[in-house]
């Protein structure tokens, strides 16, 4: 008896119990849907995160005040005020691989415009901030080096701040108040969206760091919490970071036994950290998908055992007509595999639809990989084979006489 005929036999018997076959495949469908959506959404998320990290700036390096350990415990990793202007000068003088560097200070303040107020992050930076962050303005202009030198009270606002404070009003040349000090809005930043950690990048005000230090934060020693840097080339980004580390250790007079009292991150470090986080998430989701597939497989084994019990007489008849143990074994294994593959195909279709739908909702690009579809269908066959084997073995081991006289 050829396999095509056995395949048709499997289809016929599944067709006879449509509802049962459907219910049996549900477990498999759920498992495959989760594999497909996890893989495609995970892929999309990774792409989105990568895009965001690239969006941090051009060959971006950031130096934060405070040891890595300390930063881990401080909220938001804002950094301590331990970076001095002479640190910045030393870096600029001794390090060749840098195109731009800007000091950074930041703190959260309440911003008032007429009757509206809004709490957001206020950052102080240098005039080259936009180049380092690879960012643009949609309206107005950025502050100049002269503005920085003179500590001019001007502010660049993010999209979210604009929306909350101004609504549809043009904010340019309007006056906002922070700690009751007036600042003139001179520019609006292009929309960036949310960071992978959920932080809204557009919920931000940028002003000259000198203004922020003196007028708002009461910093009189000129120290910063951070330096943001743009390296000349991607290839030398990590090397430059190492050089900066060496310069700062010298500047801060650290002995070889001392830990860094600052932290240097490159774009690569952030990419690696986020990859590691995605990896953990993927493993977790993969485990969940595997569990649902195994549960689905057990469901199939259950139903196949019922099917074998129900069809004892048919098995007896087939044996009387000359079916060998292998014929019966293959017939029932094939039936289990066919159920699994049907569940798999339905699961792939639903999984693709769900992924596309989630992609539309989140505004993420969704990549449905052929790999995930192939993996899904292969796991279906493996599950059918594995969980169908025991019931099929039981069927093929029946004694012909006992099977025939079964009531």
């Amino acid at each position: 008896m050829n396999n095509y005929r056995l395949f048709l036999t499997a289809l016929t018997s599944l067709n006879r119990h449509k509802l049962r076959s459907l219910l049996t495949t549900l477990g498999i469908i759920v498992g495959i849907v989760s594999i497909i959506s996890v893989m495609s959404i995970g892929h999309g998320a990774k792409y989105k995160v990568k895009q965001k990290i690239e969006g941090l700036g051009t060959n971006f390096i950031i130096v934060l005040g405070g040891s890595p350990k300390r930063l881990m415990h401080s909220r938001g990793g804002a950094g301590n005020l331990t970076i001095t202007p002479s640190d910045l000068n030393a870096i600029l003088e001794e390090c060749d691989g840098i195109t731009h560097a800007s000091p950074g200070v930041q703190r959260s303040f309440k911003i008032v415009y007429e009757g509206n107020n809004w709490q957001c992050l206020v950052g102080g930076a240098d005039a080259n901030y936009l180049q380092i962050r690879k960012w643009n303005l949609t309206k107005g202009y950025f502050f100049t080096e002269h503005d920085v030198k003179t500590g001019k009270r001007v502010a660049i606002i993010g999209k979210t701040v604009k929306k909350e404070l101004f609504g549809k009003i043009n904010p340019i040349n309007k006056t906002i108040r922070i700690k009751n000090i007036p600042f003139t809005v001179i520019g609006v930043l292009e929309e960036r969206g949310k960071m992978p950690n959920g932080m809204d990048e557009d919920d931000l005000i940028i002003m000259p760091y000198t203004t922020a230090q003196k007028s708002l934060m009461g910093i009189h020693n000129g120290n910063f919490t951070a330096i943001i840097i743009s390296a000349k080339k991607k290839e030398i980004m990590n090397q430059t970071a190492n050089e900066i580390e060496a310069i700062l250790r010298q500047q801060h007079k650290l002995t070889p036994q001392d830990e860094n009292d600052f932290t240097v991150f490159t774009q690569d470090d952030i990419t690696q950290a986020s990859d590691a986080a995605t990896q953990v998430l993927n493993i977790l989701l993969f485990i969940i998908a595997s569990i649902s597939l195994i549960v689905g497989g057990i469901g199939i084994m259950n139903i196949m055992l019922v099917t074998v019990a129900e069809r004892t007489k048919e098995i007896g008849i087939r044996m009387a007509l000359g079916a060998t143990t292998q014929n019966i074994l293959i017939q029932f294994i094939l039936e289990a595999i066919v159920i699994c593959i049907m569940g798999g195909v339905v699961g792939v279709i639903i999984g693709v639809l769900i992924s596309e739908f989630i992609g539309i909702i989140l505004g993420w690009p969704i990549f449905i990989s052929i790999k995930s579809i192939i993996i899904s269908l292969i796991s279906c066959i493996v599950i059918g084979l594995f969980f169908g084997f025991y019931p099929a073995k039981k069927a093929s081991g029946l004694n012909p006489v006992e099977a025939l006289i079964e009531k």
């Binding site: 087939r318 007509l321 000359g322 143990t325 292998q326 014929n327 012909p400 006489v401 025939l404």
Partner: protein
């Protein structure tokens, strides 16, 4: 050379603590072309004997030869092959597969024999024609009367040109008239194609239509008469 030969065939079953001796040493010979009835009341062991002769079961002791080959020592798969090639079965309740139409039911043993699908179907059609059911070839069992279903079963039993056909109460589920036509069919098959036919029945009216009656009582042969 005899077609079938048994030597002191014994079959015992364990039912709980007690051991039931269904067959207590049956020795018989059946030759090519015979038309035999195995009779006996229920519990006489006639069904057990048919299961052993039909290679559906193995004896507890004794020997069984088909065409001088010792069947009692064969493996499961060797027995499956013997059933497929040498033996055809006709059952009281027809035992057609409900999902298959008449042609596919008849073709099934040929498919198990490894005959290609097209050829098997062609063969199946010719045997359906032989039993007078050519016009019912694509009907499913539920669309056929009892007599027609039994004819399909007979066509199925013939498809691999077996040496022996075992029929277990073949008329038991049919009315007398239909039963008679089925018996006629067997008689003709025996006469015209010299197929060896062994009918297991408890009805004397059926047994009398054969040429030899082996009567069993309590697992032993009570009488063996040629008519």
């Amino acid at each position: 050379m005899s077609l079938l030969k048994t030597v002191k065939l014994v079959k015992t079953y364990k039912m709980g603590e007690t051991i039931v001796e269904a067959l207590k040493g049956i020795s018989l010979e059946i030759n090519q072309g015979e038309f035999v009835a195995i009779t006996g009341s229920s519990g006489s062991g006639k069904s057990t004997l048919m299961h052993l002769l039909g290679c559906l079961d193995v004896p507890t002791s004794g020997q069984y030869f088909i065409e001088d080959k010792d069947v009692s020592k064969m493996t499961k798969n060797e027995l499956a092959k013997i059933r497929n090639q040498k033996i055809g079965f006709v059952f009281q309740k027809f035992f057609l597969l409900a999902d298959l139409n008449a042609t596919d039911n008849v073709a099934l043993p040929a498919l198990y024999a490894g005959i290609p699908e097209n050829e098997a179907k062609k063969k199946a059609l010719s045997f359906l024609e032989l039993v007078g059911l050519k016009d019912r070839a694509s009907h499913y069992p539920y669309q056929l009367s009892g007599g027609q279903q039994q004819r399909v079963a007979i066509a199925r039993s013939l498809i691999n040109n077996p040496a022996i056909i075992f029929a277990d109460e073949p008329t038991g589920n049919l009315d007398t008239k239909t039963g008679d036509t089925i018996m006629e069919l067997f008689t003709n098959l025996n006469k015209e194609r010299s197929v060896t036919i062994i009918i297991v029945t408890h009805e004397p009216d059926i047994a009398i239509k054969t040429k030899r009656i082996i009567d069993l009582i309590d697992g032993q042969i009570k009488s063996d008469k040629k008519l």
